[in-house]
């Protein structure tokens, strides 16, 4: 009995200490960053210059990054973010390049594929399947259309298909 009592007391005290430390040094999560991250298309294509969608959302808030860097999001995304951040004045300054949001997928020309497996390393969502020195294919269901693999193919056998 005594042992149980002691242990329960100790655990209670430890819990108090943990709660107090959490109160002293809270984990900083900005709700605005999460909101922007939800608006972003989550294709993780890194075309904005950041390794993923969450770092880009972080950079928008913390480093004053421009909003128009997300290419798959298009102009709709810019309007959404301006609404979120109340940036009414800056709408005119943004030059809208890609007006419509069109999802693309990528296809590998399987006859010419030499199996270098360079594209598979860089795919952010593991949509490319294939062993080294064998033919590679794209799983159409998972492809986000980020077109990163286009840059890394040495034989130019990857092509864009529009949906």
């Amino acid at each position: 009995m005594i042992i149980i009592l002691i242990f329960s007391l100790v655990s209670f005290l430890l819990g108090l200490i943990l709660a107090y430390t959490h109160y002293l040094f809270p984990v900083k999560t900005d709700p605005i960053i999460n909101k922007i991250n939800n608006e972003l298309p989550q294709s993780q294509c890194a075309q904005c210059g950041y390794p993923g969608c969450y770092p880009y959302a972080k950079a928008i808030i913390n480093k004053n990054e421009k909003i128009n860097k997300c290419i798959p999001g298009g102009s709709e995304l810019i309007f959404k973010i301006t609404k979120l951040l109340n940036l009414d004045k800056n709408i005119e300054d943004i030059n809208i390049q890609n007006k419509s949001l069109v999802y693309t997928t990528v296809k590998i020309d399987e006859k010419n594929c030499v199996g270098c497996s360079k594209c598979a390393i860089f795919c952010p969502v593991d949509a490319i399947i294939g062993a080294p020195n064998f033919m590679h294919t794209v799983v159409q269901k998972f492809c986000t259309g980020c077109n990163i693999c286009l840059l890394h193919c040495p034989t130019n056998c990857i092509k864009i298909i529009k949906e």
């Binding site: 993923g52 593991d126 998972f142």
Partner: protein, 523 residues
């Protein structure tokens, strides 16, 4: 006869409109036939598989009932409506609906109507449910009430999940008589079909749902039912919209089907009466589904007839046979009086999901009806059969409040157009709802995509981390083994290494010496 009817409870639902009954004549319940046209157009809607779906080539001879396509998990195979020659196969001929791509197969009939050999089954109880479902799938039965959902898939889902079968004999639109016509002529076969379905999905009781104004049919069914404890008849009040599965189940049981779920999840299996008939035909006669009953409703002349038509008959031919030649004077719709779509291309043929062709005389509209603003009168709320608030939905959809529209259950709307008919300020409510539904679907798919992409990204990151740890561990293992081996093989390996180096040095020295000697000789 009336006495027995009065005792029974009549099922009802909130909202809806009582319709004026047209004077029904005997013509309504007799099936009419039309001759076969020269050309059949068979439309195949496809989703993912394209050219692999086709089983036939151009200039190939086909027999009646021969399958034209391979089915996949979503679509059922489609059969040739008559024997003849395939003239043409077109892709992407979008005449009905913009987004739906389809294949159009043109068949020239040779008027011989030769059938393929049919496999008849006399005692279906010898077969297992799975094989019966396979037969139903192969004969291409889909929901003939207008849903176009593969009924073999419905049966597959319903096994060991369902306790009642509901046979839907209620017309969705008040003036269509196709289902009654079918009941009148083939009642016995429909009962056999019910038994087949009950054998497949092991249901405990069967409800036959019918509207109150068909007194003769009800008495007939009661006579047939008497000795069968499985069957039960449910009489509905005559009201518009009653044909929807949601409303039928709500008024039968008082339970709502939540959006995204089917009636199977609650334990009820609903089949239209035409589908039951088609299943009976498919299982016992072995016939594929190549014909259906279509009712023709003419607004002015009250010419309402039912025709047994082969699927693929062009509507142009159908109208020409009825001597409605001057197509410019008439507007032709597909669907009933309330729910209809205007037909743009007259070369479109009768497909499996058409149950009525509506003809109206074209009238020049001198004045456009003025749309006033909503005055919150609340007529639409009283009338709505699924207990929604159309005025609120209208405001949300007009001002693009998508989240609010979703939270007020816009996706439960069945587009019956009653609220539009009742509205005193002529607002096209259903148009707004349709647009809003499309937008909601787009948002849904977007969110799903985002989730999927994010999940894959996380999985990849986890995988890479895993690989790194594995590599790290492997390195440690390698070093350990090296250390272990080093002590044992130290001397021998070093000796060999030294020996090798010495031999190589000697060889190099000799080569150098010989080359120097050769140089000296040359001098």
């Amino acid at each position: 006869m009336y006495y027995t009817l009065l005792i029974k409870k009549k099922y009802n639902f909130s909202g809806g409109i009582k319709c004026l009954s047209i004077n029904t004549e005997l013509d309504n319940y007799i099936i009419n036939y039309i001759p076969y046209p020269k050309e059949f157009f068979v439309h195949v809607k496809y989703n993912t598989l394209k050219k692999n779906m086709l089983r036939v080539k151009i200039n190939q001879k086909v027999l009646c009932g021969e399958p034209l396509t391979f089915g996949d998990c979503l679509s059922v195979p489609i059969h040739a409506p008559t024997s003849g020659l395939i003239k043409n196969i077109e892709f992407n001929s979008n005449c009905f609906g913009i987004n739906k791509e389809n294949i159009k197969i043109t068949i020239i009939s040779d008027y011989l109507d030769q059938w393929i050999r049919l496999k008849k089954i006399n005692n279906y109880k010898l077969y297992s449910p799975q094989s019966l479902i396979k037969i139903i799938y192969r004969s291409g039965v889909v929901g003939l009430g207008g849903a176009y959902f593969s009924s073999s898939k419905k049966l597959m889902l319903s096994i060991n999940k369902v306790h009642t079968l509901v046979v839907n004999a209620v017309e969705s639109d008040p003036y269509i008589t196709a289902d009654y016509c079918l009941m009148n002529n083939y009642l016995n076969e429909i009962f056999i079909g019910c038994e087949i379905i009950s054998w497949i999905s092991k249901v405990k009781n069967i409800f036959i749902v019918i509207q109150e104004d068909k007194i003769k049919l009800i008495s007939q069914i009661k006579l047939l039912i008497q000795n069968k404890p499985l069957f039960k008849i449910c009489i509905f009040k005559k009201k518009y919209p009653a044909g929807s599965s949601k409303i039928i189940i709500q008024s039968l049981t008082g339970k709502d089907i939540p959006y995204g779920q089917h009636s199977i999840d609650i334990g009820y299996l609903i089949f239209n009466i035409a589908t039951v008939y088609a299943i009976k035909r498919a299982v016992i006669n072995g016939e594929p589904l190549i014909q259906r009953i279509v009712s023709l409703y003419n607004d002015k002349n009250h010419l309402s007839k039912n025709f047994l038509i082969r699927i693929g008959t062009p509507i142009n031919f159908f109208l020409n046979y009825l001597k409605i030649k001057n197509n410019l004077d008439y507007m032709i719709y597909i669907g009933g009086v309330f729910m209809n779509n205007i037909l743009i291309d007259l070369n479109y043929s009768i497909s499996k999901d058409i149950n009525c062709v509506l003809i109206r005389k074209y009238e020049k509209k001198t004045k456009k009806p003025i749309n006033y603003s909503c005055i919150n009168c609340g007529y639409c709320v009283q009338v709505c059969p699924v207990n929604l608030l159309p005025q609120k939905l209208y405001l949300h959809s007009k001002y693009n409040h998508h989240e609010k529209a979703k939270s007020s259950y816009i996706m439960d709307c069945i587009e019956c157009k009653i609220c539009e008919k009742v509205c005193p300020s002529n607002i096209p409510l259903v148009k707004y709802f349709k647009r809003e539904k499309i937008i909601q679907n787009e948002i849904d798919t977007e969110i799903k995509r985002k989730k999927m992409f994010f999940n894959h990204f996380q999985q990849r990151e986890a995988r890479i981390l895993n690989q790194k740890t594995i590599v790290h561990e492997n390195k440690n293992d390698f070093n350990n083994t090296n250390l272990m081996k080093f002590s044992v093989l130290e001397k021998t390996s070093k000796k060999e290494f030294v020996n090798k180096q010495e031999i190589e040095k000697n060889i190099r020295k000799e080569i150098l010496r010989s080359s120097i000697e050769r140089a000296k000789l040359k001098k």
